[in-house]
């Protein structure tokens, strides 16, 4: 299914929204308006967007500690996301979760996850549910190169292939797990190399090329919907910023040339070129999108700031159904 013009415009807008959301999150954290840890997704936008453009609302995804991008791409509302970062009652989790635990079950976003690899089993459960429901829904499971060293990765690939569950495993290989390179984590550089032994397709794709990600996912999703089982997609990409920050952004320990070379492959700049060249959007139209994103985020921050903090007397609410 070829991407429509509006589809592509929508994808570009979402990529910009993701980037700007996280750039703001960093500033808001430095300003002490939000708490805890921020793990920016900046640089990896093509993955979340290229993948999720293939999904319907009833398809489901699980995410990671670096989850804002997946959340936005799956259709969550940035106002309620922002309110969650602000720890307010109108946040997705009523302020109980924060950045690492945003979820929006209504749009099939089954949650960020603070545990590396922790989302993989949950995604397999969603895929089992989809198989039992028999409506052709699929589940996408996002995880990092670091997570591929956890045993749950292996168990997830094994059982979903044995059971032919409708799931797509999307490894965002951003070259690092915290400060450790892929070489510290794995004997080889390609996570997708594992797919064969699990009798599933393993595909490596340029994770900074949203159209390539889209195309590869399309095939994997179609396979899953057909009942042919899981696929493993490895998207080679890079995060532009630090791994995580608390009060202040930590110094970057990665080689400056490496950072620069990846910034030169900016997935948004590249897709902007693409859509201009294809005549999908003009430069002024793109500018308008950027302005709109900026206004949306202003509104999201205003929404968050207007929302009250949870009342201490509600501490025990939501514990049990």
């Amino acid at each position: 299914m070829a991407l429509s013009t509006t589809g592509m415009a929508q994808m570009l807008r979402t990529m910009i929204l993701i980037r700007e959301f996280d750039e703001r999150a960093i500033r808001l954290r430095v300003a002490g308006k939000i708490y805890g840890a921020v793990h920016p997704y900046v640089g990896q936008e093509a993955v979340a967007v290229g993948v999720c453009a293939n999904l319907t609302r009833s398809d489901r995804v699980t995410s990671t500690h670096r989850g804002h991008g997946h959340c936005i791409a799956k259709g969550a509302d940035v106002r309620r996301m922002m309110a969650e970062l602000f720890g307010r009652v109108d946040g997705y989790c009523k302020g109980k979760g924060g950045s690492m635990h945003i979820a929006d079950f209504a749009v099939g976003m089954l949650g960020a996850n603070g545990i590396v690899g922790g989302g993989l089993p949950i995604a397999c459960g969603a895929a089992l549910a989809a198989q039992l429901e028999g409506k052709g829904d699929v589940t996408v499971c996002f995880f990092g190169d670091g997570a591929a060293a956890e045993g749950e990765f292996h168990e997830a690939l094994n059982i979903t292939s044995a059971w032919k569950l409708p799931i797509v495993f999307v490894c965002e290989n951003n070259q690092y797990a915290a400060n450790n390179t892929v070489a510290v984590q794995h004997p080889g550089v390609d996570i997708a190399a594992h797919a064969g032994a699990y009798h599933m397709p393993g595909v490596i794709v340029d994770g900074n090329d949203v159209l390539a990600v889209h195309a590869a996912t399309e095939e994997a999703v179609a396979r899953a919907r057909r009942g042919d089982g899981p696929s493993l997609l490895e998207c080679k990409t890079y995060r532009w910023h630090f791994h995580a920050m608390r009060n202040t952004p930590p110094p970057d320990t990665r080689p400056p040339e490496e950072i620069a070379s990846w910034k030169a492959r900016d997935p948004i700049a590249r897709f902007e070129r693409d859509v201009r060249e294809r005549g999908v959007l003009s430069a002024p139209e793109i500018r308008a999108i950027r302005e709109r994103v900026s206004a949306d985020l202003d509104e999201a921050v205003a929404f968050a700031e207007a929302s009250p903090f949870p009342d201490a007397k509600d501490l025990l609410v939501d514990m049990y159904a």
């Binding site: 079950f105 089954l110 922790g118 949950i122 459960g125 168990e155 939501d318 514990m319």
Partner: protein
């Protein structure tokens, strides 16, 4: 009333709930009986030996509208899945602000006394009790086993059902029909006036046997079975001890940070119960060792009737 075994009571609970609700599904490396025959291979899943992913799958499928029952078989095997229990299942509803329910039931056997040594003889319920967000049941009779497991499966939260190995072949009367036992309600299994014995699982029957013997000496024992560990029915436990003024808590887990420790604390911190206590609280638990293989040592490691009896005599002697 029908007399059936603990194991059969559990199997009936599962089968009845599966008939009642097509969203109930099973996952385990093995099953008692042949549930595939009645319910088919799509609802009854033989899994690889991958407890971590299976545990999380139960949770994920629960969040998507199913009611999975994951049977770890032995509690020992659940430790490879502990992340999914502690970091995911127990926290997922609260940390997501209650936006979904997760009606998953985890089952496993517990306990020693069967010559299987350290790794296959564990009773670590208190490790799960400590983690806020789970409900936990621990039945001592076939009737409670059936009624509590049915309630667990119908509960909209993650519930862990601990099922004592040594009780599997024990038989007892089980009411016909849709027999439910509510989660969170203890039961006084025998009334008495001198000493309360709180027994868990296998040790409820042992406490009753000791009570019978001691009755001949003129000592009147009340036996209380919490049945549910979370939420703990502290009211019933405290009411009993306020009446008797003395308590012996018996379990086969080692004492440190155990369910028995929690019960002791719940009693000693309640002002009214504290004032009624005429003797120190007493725990009769396993020795603080991995359960040894040799029968001579295993017997010494786990509580026996003579230990319970001795403890009762002691609290009577120590009474102020």
């Amino acid at each position: 009333m029908r007399e059936i075994s603990f194991q059969q009571a559990l199997d009936e609970a599962v089968a009845e709930e599966m008939r009642r609700d097509p969203r109930v599904i099973l996952m385990a490396t093995d099953f008692t009986g042949d549930p595939v025959k009645e319910f088919g291979p799509s609802r009854v899943r033989f899994t690889p030996i991958s407890e971590a992913v299976v545990t999380g799958m139960g949770l994920g499928a629960a969040g998507c509208g199913f009611r999975p029952i994951v049977n770890w078989r032995m509690v020992t095997f659940s430790f490879v899945a502990m992340d999914q229990v502690v970091n995911q299942a127990s926290k997922i509803r609260y940390m997501f602000g209650g936006q979904a329910d997760f009606p998953v039931t985890y089952r496993c056997t517990t306990g020693g006394g069967i010559g299987l040594a350290a790794q296959h003889s564990q009773s670590p319920y208190s490790m799960w009790m400590h983690v806020a967000g789970l409900k936990i049941v621990l039945p001592s009779t076939p009737a409670d086993a059936k009624g509590l497991l049915k309630s667990a499966i119908r509960d909209d939260n993650p519930v862990v059902s601990f099922e004592c190995s040594r009780l599997m072949t024990a038989t007892g009367p089980v009411p016909d029909g849709d027999h439910l036992v509510p989660i969170g309600v203890a039961e006084v299994k025998r009334t008495g006036t001198d000493v309360t014995i709180v027994g868990l699982a296998y040790y409820v029957a042992e406490a009753l046997a000791v009570a019978e013997e001691l009755a001949r000496e003129g000592i009147s024992i009340e036996v209380v079975d919490p049945r549910t560990l979370v939420p703990m029915d502290a009211d019933t436990l405290r009411a009993s001890v306020r009446k008797t003024g003395r308590v012996v808590i018996v379990d086969e887990a080692p004492a440190t940070c155990s369910a028995a420790a929690e019960i002791a604390a719940l009693l000693a911190e309640d002002p009214e119960t504290f004032r009624a206590l005429r003797a120190p609280v007493r725990r009769v638990c396993a020795a603080p060792v991995p359960v040894p293989y040799s029968p001579s040592l295993e017997r010494a490691a786990l509580p026996g009737r003579e230990d319970i009896t001795a403890a009762v005599h002691e609290v009577l002697k120590q009474s102020v």
